[in-house]
Symmetry: C2
Subunit: 68 residues, 2 copies
């Protein structure tokens, strides 16, 4: 069986990561690029580890970057 | 919060699609490319619609191509 498959592109990754972050209560997505993301979050609702985990659950490997 | 995210590339899509197809009982993955896949399958265990659905579940849009 042959399949044609639409959506296999880096745009797919951007959408997937953005969606995963958007679904976390207290998170506002500022920016998603190939290789990284910037969000603001409500510390009373979530934490960096939980935010990274949501991205990992989609099959990527996310590392929170400590604020400078 | 800034995150660095590994795996946002077309290689991610290839791995994701291959994994989804590999998990279907009766399916043997022959080839996965950006934009398509070729599998052999045991018709007593699965069907083209089910195979396409497994890919769709990962966030892509798959269309079975009728054999020539």
């Amino acid at each position: 069986l042959n399949l044609t498959i639409d959506g296999m592109s880096c745009g797919h990754c951007l959408n997937t990561v953005r969606g995963a972050l958007d679904r976390i209560p207290g998170v506002t997505v500022e920016k998603v690029t190939i290789g990284g993301a910037t969000v603001t979050y409500d510390p009373s609702k979530t934490a960096p580890e939980q935010i990274a985990e949501a991205v990992n659950d989609e099959g990527y490997t996310a590392h929170p970057v400590p604020a400078k």
